[in-house]
């Protein structure tokens, strides 16, 4: 068993979990900021739908001949603004995903480079306070996959949305919510708990 290889790997793992902790916080914050935006997209779609359902010429609003066009313009403009904001949020999610992916691939690479000096016992050995290297690598990859999948799913949903497709916009809040994966989020929180002693032992 090679001491330097194993301790370098430990260092890299510690750094990765640190990144995971920070990125997970940012990730959750960004998603929290997205929720009201998605809700307002749904509201705007509902307003556009109501406008289409009402024949303005049969209502007291008939004295304003170009009202419908004007209101529709305003609604489209507001929808565009919200979509723009959501796209900005997506860029923050993307950068979280990229940072973490880079980190995880660096650790995996380090591990692969040193496989000759790390025997099975070293990578699977664990104690009451330290998880094994193999476990930790697996958890990192699980988390990385979660970020990757979540980002892609949410990005795809947003790309489908356009200001003129009402039914999609109306269903957006629900679809957005259905993408939530509480179990994966819990797993990340669990992972961070499991490695807390390992992290403290700098």
């Amino acid at each position: 068993m090679s001491k330097p290889a194993s301790s370098a790997l430990h260092q890299a793992l510690r750094k990765s979990f640190q990144t995971l902790e920070n990125n997970h916080k940012v990730w959750k914050d960004v998603l929290d900021e997205c929720s009201p935006l998605i809700v307002s997209l749904g509201n705007l779609a509902e307003q556009s739908r109501a406008l289409s359902n009402v024949q303005l010429s049969n209502t007291p609003l008939r004295i304003f001949p170009d009202l419908e066009e004007r209101l529709r313009f305003k609604l489209l403009q507001a929808t565009d603004t919200v979509l723009g904001k959501l796209n900005e949020k997506m860029s923050s999610l993307q950068s979280v995903r990229d940072t973490f992916s880079n980190q995880v691939s660096a650790v995996s690479q380090l591990y692969e480079q040193n496989t000759s000096s790390l025997d099975l016992l070293t990578v699977t050995e664990r104690s009451a306070t330290f998880p094994s290297v193999a476990d930790m690598l697996e958890w990192l990859q699980d988390a990385e996959r979660h970020f990757r999948q979540q980002f892609l799913r949410r990005k795809t949903l947003l790309q489908l949305l356009t200001a003129d497709n009402l039914s999609l916009l109306e269903s957006a809040p629900e679809r957005w919510k259905s993408l939530e994966s509480p179990s994966a989020e819990e797993n990340i929180a669990d992972t961070l708990c499991k490695v807390s002693f390992f992290m403290e032992a700098q």
Partner: protein
């Protein structure tokens, strides 16, 4: 005239130009008033929106209550009646509040009209002084006095239209039964369809020209 400059804050940038007198002074003060009136309009509009939303909600609760009461009721008629009158009082309150808010808007537009009149006065004075083609050197950077007048006219038109829309909504809001139409009223109130994005640009242009905003 200086008292008319409203509540725009005097920063060092616009204090420097406070030596302007005569027509320039008048136009500059009018611009500050435009700015303040439009800000005030936005504030009042927000208040109005929450009140309008409240009216719609009360109406919705009332119609749901009626549906419940039509089916074999499990609340005694007496309590149902008291609940309905409670709702009615609340509705009346909210409608009065919205009426107040629209009155505030009327006051704002009246002030805008007087700004317009004063702008026209400046224009007339200039024609008297310099003849129909106006003064040779612009009062501020590039605009001639006519442009100030047409800008005021443009802004006044927008806000008068929007006020008319608000007044219509005020009249109809509490009597509307279809939920779609209620939604349209609310979204008209919120998005202010007559105030197009150019309004903001025009106001900024005015502020820039008169030196309220540094170039």
């Amino acid at each position: 005239m200086e008292g008319e400059s409203g509540d725009i804050t005097m920063t060092s940038a616009n204090r420097k130009c406070s030596a302007v007198t005569g027509s320039g002074r008048k136009i500059k003060d009018n611009t500050a008033d435009w700015h303040n009136l439009i800000l005030k309009w936005e504030k009042v509009n927000e208040e109005g929106f929450s009140t309008a939303a409240k009216i719609i909600n009360i109406r919705r609760c009332q119609s749901e209550d009626q549906l419940v009461n039509k089916s074999p009721s499990f609340s005694s008629p007496a309590t149902a009646v008291s609940a309905a009158t409670g709702g009615a009082a609340e509705l009346q309150d909210a409608c009065c509040k919205l009426q107040d808010i629209v009155n505030k808007m009327v006051a704002i537009v009246t002030k805008m009209e007087s700004l317009m009149t004063s702008q026209r006065g400046v224009q007339d004075l200039e024609e008297f002084q310099f003849g129909p083609e106006g003064r040779k050197i612009p009062l501020f950077h590039t605009w001639n006095t006519k442009q100030f007048e047409s800008t005021s006219c443009f802004l006044l038109d927008i806000y008068s239209q929007e006020l008319k829309l608000k007044q219509t909504i005020l009249q109809e809001l509490a009597h509307t039964t279809t939920s779609d139409l209620c939604m349209v009223y609310l979204s008209c109130w919120l998005h202010q369809p007559f105030i197009h994005p150019q309004t903001r640009l025009t106001l900024e242009a005015l502020l820039l020209e008169t030196g309220h905003r540094p170039l």
